[in-house]
C-alpha cells in the first residue's frame, strides 16, 4: 500500500494524475442522468402521496432517502464534468428542501 498523499486538499485537476482521483472512470452521462430523473420522479410521487394521505413519519424517511439519492446521482454527474458548480448546487438543493419542509409543515 502506498503511503503517498491522496488528492484531497492539495490536489487540482492539473497537478494530479487521474489515477489518484476518487473514481478512475467517468460516470456515464445517460445512465446517471436517467437514474437522477427516475429518483426525482419517485421523490415527487412520494411527496404527493405522503402529503395527500398524511403519512408523515413514512414521508420523512422516504423524503430524506430520495433527496440523498438525487443529490448522489447529481453529484456523480457533476463529478464527471464541472467540479466548480457543486457548492452552488448543494446550496440550491438545501434551499429547495427547506422550502418543501416548511410547505409540508404548514
Amino acid at each position: 500500500m502506498s503511503t503517498a498523499n491522496l488528492p484531497s486538499i492539495h490536489c487540482t485537476i492539473t497537478t494530479c494524475p487521474r489515477s489518484d482521483s476518487f473514481l478512475i472512470y467517468d460516470p456515464t452521462l445517460p445512465g446517471n442522468a436517467t437514474y437522477l430523473a427516475i429518483f426525482a420522479a419517485l421523490l415527487l410521487a412520494q411527496i404527493g402521496l405522503g402529503v395527500f394521505y398524511k403519512t408523515w413519519g413514512f414521508l420523512l424517511v422516504m423524503f430524506a432517502g430520495l433527496v440523498l439519492e438525487v443529490i448522489g446521482y447529481a453529484g456523480r454527474l457533476i463529478l464527471r464534468k464541472n467540479p466548480f458548480l457543486i457548492g452552488n448546487f448543494l446550496l440550491s438543493v438545501g434551499r429547495r428542501a427547506t422550502c418543501l419542509i416548511r410547505w409540508s409543515r404548514s
Binding site: T28, E69, P83
Partner: protein
C-alpha cells in the same frame, strides 16, 4: 484551479448521499412493518374493540418493539456510514483512507445484518399468521378488518418484502465492493454499480410508491394502526381513528368524518361503527 473545499464537496457530494440514502429508506420499511404487525395483532383494549383481547400473544414482540429495534439498528448503521463516508472522502493519506473505509464497511455490515434479521422476523410473522387459524382474534377495528380482506393487502405485503430484499441485495453488493477497498477492482467498475446500486433502490421505492402505505391504509386504517414507538401504547391510541384523540367519543367522531370522506366499499362500515360508538359513548356519559 480547483478550490480545496470545492474538491472535497465534489467527492463527498456523490459518495455520502448514495451511501446514506438506502439506509434512510430502510427505516420506512421498518416503520411500515410495525403497521403490518398491528393489523395482525389482537386489538388493544379500547371501546372500538368488538372482540376482547386475549392475554396470549401471537407474535414474539409487540409492533413498537419491531419498529424500535430495527430503526435503532438502522440509525446506528447510518451514523457509522456517515462518519466512515465523510472520513473516506476527506482522507489525506492512503492509510487513513483505508481505516475510514473500514469504518464505512462496518456501518454497511450492520445494515446488512439488520436487514437480514428483519427478513427473518418478517418470515416469522408470515409463518405465524399462516399457522394461526381463523379463530385467533385479530385487530377488530373495522378499517383494519376491511384492510385485511381487501385485494390490495396481499400485493402490499409482497411489495414490502420485495423492497427489503432489494435493499438487502444492494447492501451486500456494497459490502463486497468496499471489502476490496477503494482501489479494488469492483469499486472502480461502473457496470456493477449501475446495476446493483441504482436499480435495486429504484425498484424498492417504486414498489413502495405503487403500494404506498397511505394508499393501502386509506379510509382510516392508517390512523387505526398507529402505535407508540416509545413506551406502552396509551389506551385507544393504537385503535382510535384520530391522532391524539382525547377519548373514544372524539375518536369515533373522527372515524366518522374519515368514513364520510372516503367513498370506498367499506366506508359505510366504518361510518356505521363510529356512529353507534359515538351514540353509546354519549349515552354512557349522560
Amino acid at each position: 484551479m480547483l478550490d480545496p473545499l470545492e474538491s472535497k464537496l465534489t467527492r463527498t457530494s456523490y459518495f455520502i448521499p448514495l451511501g446514506l440514502g438506502p439506509a434512510s429508506l430502510c427505516a420506512s420499511i421498518y416503520v411500515t412493518f410495525g403497521r403490518i404487525v398491528v393489523v395482525y395483532s389482537p386489538s388493544p383494549n379500547s371501546a372500538t374493540t368488538t372482540i376482547t383481547a386475549p392475554t396470549h400473544r401471537i407474535f414474539p414482540f409487540r409492533p413498537h418493539i419491531y419498529a424500535l429495534v430495527f430503526c435503532t439498528l438502522d440509525s446506528i448503521a447510518l451514523s457509522i456510514q456517515g462518519v466512515g463516508g465523510g472520513l473516506t472522502a476527506t482522507a489525506a493519506t492512503a492509510s487513513s483512507r483505508n481505516a475510514s473505509t473500514n469504518i464505512l464497511l462496518a456501518g454497511l455490515v450492520i445494515q446488512a445484518v439488520s436487514l437480514c434479521l428483519f427478513l427473518c422476523c418478517a418470515a416469522d410473522v408470515l409463518r405465524r399468521v399462516r399457522a394461526a387459524g381463523p379463530d385467533v382474534p385479530r385487530n377488530a377495528h373495522p378499517a383494519l378488518v376491511a384492510l385485511r380482506t381487501s385485494a390490495r393487502w396481499k400485493g402490499f405485503l409482497v411489495s414490502v418484502g420485495a423492497a427489503a430484499v432489494l435493499v438487502f441485495i444492494r447492501t451486500v453488493y456494497r459490502v463486497v465492493e468496499l471489502s476490496g477497498g477503494f482501489e479494488g477492482s469492483l469499486a472502480q467498475a461502473e457496470v456493477p454499480f449501475m446495476v446493483l446500486e441504482g436499480p435495486m433502490i429504484m425498484l424498492a421505492v417504486l414498489l413502495l410508491t405503487i403500494y404506498h402505505p397511505g394508499v393501502v391504509y386509506r379510509g382510516g386504517a392508517w390512523e387505526a394502526s398507529r402505535f407508540a414507538v416509545l413506551g406502552r401504547e396509551k389506551r385507544g391510541s393504537a385503535d382510535s381513528a384520530g391522532m391524539g384523540a382525547q377519548n373514544d367519543e372524539e375518536a369515533g367522531a373522527r372515524c366518522y368524518e374519515l368514513g364520510r370522506r372516503e367513498r370506498g366499499s367499506y366506508a359505510t362500515i366504518i361510518a356505521g361503527q363510529a356512529e353507534t360508538e359515538t351514540e353509546t359513548g354519549s349515552e354512557g356519559r349522560k
